[in-house]
Amino acid sequence: MNNPQLNKQGELQHLLSTEGLPVPILRDILDRTASFVNVAAGSEIKKVPLLHGKSVFNLFFESSTRTRTTFEIAAKRLSADVVNLNIGSSSTSKGETLLDTVHNLCAMHADMFVVRHSSSGAAHLIAQHVAPEVHVINAGDGRHAHPTQALLDMFTIRHYKKEFHNLRVAIVGDVLHSRVARSQIHALTTLGVPEVRVIAPKTLLPACVERLGVHVYHDMLPGLRDVDVVMMLRLQNERMQGALLPSAQEYFKYYGLTQERLALAKEDAIVMHPGPMNRGVEIDSSVADGPHSVILPQVTFGIAVRMAVMSMLAGNT
């Protein structure tokens, strides 16, 4: 089957998922990110002209502040023209179909779409229907994928741990509903992390999750033992209504990341979270703000990684 993310030359045409991304492309994105970290980090150079004259459309069918903002900043630092569209509140409520919206925007000569949608596969569908020179970046589709989040996580891990081949990584929480977790798992296994664990109660794990190449734990104590990286997932409050969990309190008691539990991990372990955090639900404040936490650097790297992806795509025409 053709990889819908790659063009005929095997270059990145769209970024839809971390699954099926060739290792050289993944590494290339991380290397480029390193060079953009300097642009982003308040050095003399605030802007580079790599996307000068290009239009980037932020197409958000599902609301998001953080992701949309980081994409917007990234595009602007690359000198692109940015148009933000919160479709959730306009066209679709007037009955326009997803593809009609996309065709209309293509007619306005968009060069790149950054898409977020509540349905898994929406970015793939759009990528199939845009003009051949247009690039699509998936900024989160349903439970399926959130590749730029996973890439910034990989950059953060590489920044602190240097290599992937000797790591033990634990992903903790609501894997079932998490597009972040899926993208993280594919990126980690592709980059050669030998042991990826998921830790969650059975109600928050999807079927056959072990076939994604992870080890399943239901208990934090063995799950966190000797890990190098702890990646926490956000627990949404709606999960109590679906009879997936009895209460946030009980969840925190058994699956919350506390200092005591973190002590089971390696001494130099890092703690990550894609945000926004629920303090006292999945993570204790003392851990979130503690010395192992790299949660704020993640956000900073998030802009650089999106610049890296956009510049790579713009170069592949």
Binding site: R182, P206, A207, V209
Partner: protein, 424 residues
């Protein structure tokens, strides 16, 4: 008109005939097989050299979308598709708009179908009013209007007491109840098999237990009430095993499977191919193999097209939002042939699943070519190959997971009641 079909290989599963035999048709019925009856003069001769002559196919599940969904398909378009696929009889589920819960609606549908003079249409009546699962329909009236069995289609019937009573009432009059087993709570919002593919793609899942728990309930209630139960569109290995056991225990239960599930698995979803958004969901390879084994050993009684034409716009959406269903009437025969070839099932056995078995489920004297039977006949070329292309399909529904597939077996003639209704 007197017609002679000569030099063809006649396959009639009911009469266990697989031989080169001529078929003689007079007064709309089979007048003789092999030798012409005395004084028979053919007004038309169909040369079936190199072709296979078989009873017209009987499809137990084809949605015609009338009344109510004419933008998806019409009787005209779908009946044309049926005969192009060699299907001369079909039964349609009651999930139209409004549902087939009133005798008048059924009579109208029968009348419209009859006036088109293509395939025979055997409607299934709604088991409950509006398919809402609360009140029983007038089953006697509906039967008099032409309903051949009663079904909830894909609508949930969560109240087990209503289900029990529906079965008791149907059993009183010897009516058959058709159910597609699915627990609506376990399947809620689901769109794909609860397996590796749904996990990778992040698609809301439908677990196998959604099928088996509902099936267990239906089998228990059927045993209790003595109703003749037909289970529609089973999809899982576990369900095949449950029905196999129930049959061994002597329960009056039958079942069918859709041709899609005989050939495809969850893997065919690929990168969110909405053509594979089907009900029930495509399951694992293991499930598909168990369905094939169930066909071989007779646990499964019939293969249907589960023809469900969908308009183009309804498929051009992200997978979960896209409407379920696929066109199928024109693919039923080649897909049965493909399965038979892959599994090395002799044609005489394979075609049972689309002729005499479904005819018996509908309680109709069709699906065979005995002398005196309706001359409903399909003549096809087993060597002719063709590629599935949406534009070439007669059905108004153009969506199928088999787009682009090479098919072997092309219908040359379809006869309904001794009249040629399709030829190419």
């Amino acid at each position: 008109m007197n017609i002679q079909i000569k030099n063809g290989r006649l396959i009639d599963p009911r009469n266990k005939i697989d031989a080169q035999q001529d078929v003689f048709i007079a007064e709309r019925r089979i007048a003789a097989i092999g030798k012409a009856p005395q004084g028979f003069v053919a007004e038309q001769v169909i040369d079936a050299s190199g072709l296979i002559v078989m009873p017209g196919l009987v499809d137990v599940a084809a949605r015609l979308r009338e009344p109510g969904y004419e933008y998806k398909a019409t009787l005209e378009s779908e009946m044309t598709a049926a005969v192009a696929g060699g299907v001369t009889s079909l039964s349609c589920p009651p999930d139209t708009d409004p549902p087939l819960d009133e005798p008048g609606l059924v009579e109208m549908l029968k009348y419209r179908a009859r006036s088109l003079n293509q395939a025979r249409v055997f409607p299934l009546g709604a088991l409950t009013y509006g398919l809402k699962g609360t009140e029983l329909t007038e089953m006697i009236e509906l039967t008099e209007a032409g309903c051949k069995a009663f079904s909830q289609a894909d609508a949930p019937l969560t109240d087990t007491r209503v289900l029990l009573r529906a079965m008791q009432y149907a059993a009183t009059f010897g009516y058959r109840v058709w159910l597609r087993p699915q627990d609506s709570f376990l399947a809620k919002n689901g769109v794909a098999h609860d397996g590796e593919v749904a996990t990778r793609l992040g698609l809301p899942p439908i677990p196998v237990v959604a099928e088996t728990t509902a099936l267990a309930t239906a089998l228990q209630l059927a045993g209790e009430t003595g109703v003749k139960l037909h289970i529609c569109r089973i999809s899982s290995a576990a369900a095949v095993e449950m029905i196999r056991t129930a049959k061994h225990e002597g329960l009056a239960v039958t079942c069918d499977v859709s041709m899609n599930h005989v050939h495809l698995t969850e893997m065919d979803i690929g990168f969110f191919d909405a053509n594979c958004h089907l009900v029930p969901p495509l399951r694992s390879l293991r499930d598909r193999d168990a369905l094939r084994a169930g066909l071989k050993d007779g646990t499964i009684d019939a293969i249907c097209s589960n023809h469900s034409p969908v308009d183009e716009d309804a498929k051009q959406l992200p997978f979960a939002e896209a409407e379920d269903g696929a066109t199928g009437l024109e693919l039923l025969l080649p897909l049965v042939l493909k399965w038979a070839e892959q599994e090395r099932v002799p044609l005489l056995d394979a075609l049972v699943q689309v002729t005499i078995n479904p005819a018996l489920l509908l309680g109709q004297k069709i699906g065979h070519l005995s002398v005196g039977a309706h001359a409903d006949i399909c003549v096809y070329d087993p060597k002719s190959t063709w590629k599935v292309e949406p534009a070439a399909l007669k059905s108004q529904g153009k969506n199928t997971p088999f787009n682009g597939y090479e098919m072997q077996g092309r219908v040359r003639y379809t006869l309904l009641d001794g009249q040629i209704v399709f030829q190419q």
